[in-house]
């Protein structure tokens, strides 16, 4: 039975530095294992499509440019992604990774949430083809 049990802590809090991080002005460093934005390495990918198959929220689309020469482009939607890292777990060739530095992704437009990963010439080729009328994009599956 007492009144004001918290008093000691109040005084302590008043004379110590606040626990606040000065976030938007100083950046915080995320822990090593943090699951941020997905990063794709087109050099290692063999196009097994396992990541696409098991993605719980259809965030990954693997577009085939040339299957024999192993040319793939990944269209990644951070707005759909739930950052579960199942694709990273499944990928046997370590071409997928979740970055621990890219996690601030707010945007005022939704267009920002369509990210193309791959070799530059492949992306240019795909976008060019998609821009032409009448020709559909390469099949996803």
């Amino acid at each position: 039975m007492a009144i004001g049990v918290l008093f000691g802590d109040l005084v302590k809090a008043l004379f110590t530095k606040p626990a606040t991080q000065n976030y938007p002005f100083t950046k915080t460093i995320a822990p090593e294992r943090l699951r941020g934005k997905l990063v794709y390495d087109p050099e290692k990918c063999v196009g097994c499509m396992l990541c696409m198959k098991d993605c719980p929220s259809n965030a990954i689309e693997l577009l085939t440019v040339d299957k024999i020469n192993k040319k793939f482009v990944m269209r990644y939607h951070p707005d759909r992604c739930v950052f579960c890292a199942q694709c990273v777990q499944l990928c046997r060739f370590n071409c997928l990774n979740m970055s621990n530095s890219l996690w601030e992704m707010a945007s005022t437009t939704k267009e920002a949430f369509e990210v193309y990963y791959g070799r530059e010439e492949d992306i240019a080729f795909l976008l060019e083809r998609a821009a032409q009328p009448g020709i559909n994009e390469p099949p996803c599956e």
């Binding site: 606040p18 626990a19 606040t20 991080q21 976030y23 938007p24 915080t28 995320a30 719980p56 929220s57 259809n58 939607h77 951070p78 707005d79 759909r80 992604c81 739930v82 950052f83 579960c84 996690w103 601030e104 992704m105 707010a106 945007s107 005022t108 437009t109 939704k110 949430f113």
Partner: protein, 178 residues
Amino acid sequence: MSTDSENFYAQIVNKLKNWARINSPWAIHFNSGSCNGCDIEILATLTPRYDVERLGIKLQGSPRHADVLIATGPVTLQALDRLIRVYEQMPDPKYVIAVGSCALSGGVFDGCYSVIGDLNKVIPVDVYVPGCPPRPEAIIFGVVQLLDSLKKGKKPTKIVVSNDVPELIIEEKSNGNN
């Protein structure tokens, strides 16, 4: 008195208004079917570690007091009309921040029978914050994005909600909650 000086005063008033708006975004939080993850993280931004009060953000209970609607979750059919009502009850100018993958696109719930999945289909969204859930820092980052866009002079537009829900009006009269 020429029109120049009037313009000058009008400019000053406008600048003052804009400054006040940027420095005091009072927020209201609505959960339209989220899994609580985002909501807890939004709540966490109020607590000592992140403390958004230093940016002037205050979580308000009544939509009448709020400027920013922070919405989470893949809009469920049940929460839909409530969400629209809360949005309509907010006085102009008002802004919407969609937090979490569900509010952006449906996330894992995309395709469930009871969700709409995209907040943008229901009310106009100003800032999108992806993540499942986004870290509290990322939510603050999203708010800062909104304030930045206001600073650059994005005009607060008066937007009419597209979904016309006639039952809403009848319900509002009989049932005065919120």
